[in-house]
Amino acid sequence: MSMPRKPGRTSPRHRTAAALRAAILFLLIRTAVFSAGLAFLASCTFDLDYDKYAIVYGISDYPDPVNDLTVADDDALAMRDLLDDQGFEVISYTHTDAGATSGQLVIDMNAIASVATIDDLFVFYFSGHGGQDLPGTAGGTENTPDSDADEEYILLHDGGLTDDQLASLLRTIPCARKVVILDACFSGGFVSNYLETDAIPPEYSQGPSGIFGTLGNAIYLYANFQDYGSDIPPGEALVMAATGEQDVAYETEDNGVMTGYLLESATEADRNFDGYITVSESYFYIYRNINKSFNMLYGASGFVFFPHVSGGPVDYILFTKK
């Protein structure tokens, strides 16, 4: 005996409502699965079984007292302590003031190159003066898009080391993951992005690029993607620079402005709560705080600057949150 159907159950309107309910249920289930997946990933810990090496240089006392800084050597020592706490082999590669020479840097780079492997992580940190020189200085080139023609350098105790010279030294380090952190004026000139266009210009006070300019640049760089052979490309190392190519960096009583926030980022910058702080997370913490505090405070006086970072499709874990 067949049961009579309830009236209205097979009406077109009812079927439409059923279809809509099914679609909404489908969306809800997918959202739940997606969220569960993200939660699972966030709860995972990954075995970071590799060695970490760092070279840390900071120079406050230059041969010419006119160049002396206040806390650059303290920056280096604070950074050494942080990296040591993070498990880096760093103590014997930290040099300040008169010990931080180009010759010593070559010795340190060679020492690390002889023990490090492709799986290891390498960090080079420098706090001190940065400068600009004539194009072609020390055989360098400045072909990177968005770059001015000047040759940027960091000032070691015995002289300048250009971006191209540092890139050459980095090539001797066999690690796949290398990070260069520069708390120095004009240090954005060490960044070489072949595909990405930075919405923040090399001189921060000029204001951000317009949306159409950024869009046009991005398409231009895509169409002309190539190895420009100058500065430090993201494949060689991710560079985190305190300033743009034409900006000046500043110090506080305790640290360089960038280094102060860099030190904080090791505990404060974990944006996705996975327990790791990547270069991008650290960079975001630094630039957001420089903008919110230093640039807001001194913007009227024109003392503004903005950190810059390398592009590229990969990011590296810099710190483990403790």
Partner: protein, 207 residues
């Protein structure tokens, strides 16, 4: 063997795309006016091997990234069951897992999507819920921002999107379609970057 397979595929495509078949397929389908659609989809992208000087060959392995997308599109029927679509989208891609101490970066951005679609009515026209099976093929032009940075980059992509559209015969001006978008992106900085997902689009056609 390859030639024979090609001939078979061409033969089947000829049948499927023939105007007679399209007319047959379109008979009873919803009204042939431009339609406006709102889309939401999510899926998984796979990135592999960065390209550029300094990246060591073979070190970076493929990793998955979660993808989410919302968009709006205008579908313009050309003739029978063919249509052209143009749309704007916002999408986001999460970072990959940090195994090995590195991730593929998260990014988000917007894009312009152009596509051409073709659909068959697979249910009886007299049924209260009409089902249309079809696919769209096209391309996208995207500008993204690496998350947590100020760096923008451009990349185009191609997509193939089978779909199943549900059209209530009582309300032919609106429909819901389930999609299976498969996309490949021409990233200059990656050896491979593609995604597959699931999506829902709600379409509205003026009465």
């Amino acid at each position: 063997m390859a030639r024979k397979t090609t001939l078979i595929i061409l033969f089947l495509l000829g049948i499927v795309l023939s105007p007679a078949n399209a007319d047959e397929a379109a008979r009873g389908a919803r009204t042939r006016r431009p339609s406006f659609g709102l889309m939401i989809q999510s899926g998984v992208a796979v990135a592999d091997e960065p390209v550029g000087s300094g990246y060591p060959a073979g070190f970076y392995t493929p990793k998955a990234q979660a993808v989410g997308l919302i968009g709006a599109a205008l579908d313009i029927p050309l003739f029978s069951a063919f249509s052209l679509g143009i749309g704007l989208q916002l999408h986001g891609v999460t970072a990959s897992n940090p195994a090995g101490g590195w991730t593929y970066r998260a990014h988000w951005g917007g894009g312009l999507r152009l596509s051409a679609g073709y659909g068959f009515l697979i249910s009886e026209p007299s049924r209260p819920l009409q089902l249309t099976l079809g696919f769209s093929a096209g391309g996208s032009f995207n500008v993204d921002l690496y998350t947590l940075t100020t760096l923008f980059f451009f990349y185009p992509g191609v997509l193939l999107e089978p779909y199943l559209e549900l059209v209530p015969s009582s309300r032919k001006h609106s429909s819901i379609a389930l999609m299976l978008p498969i996309e490949y992106y021409f990233r200059r900085d990656l050896e491979f970057y593609g995604s597959v997902g699931l999506g829902v689009v709600w379409r509205y056609t003026r009465k």
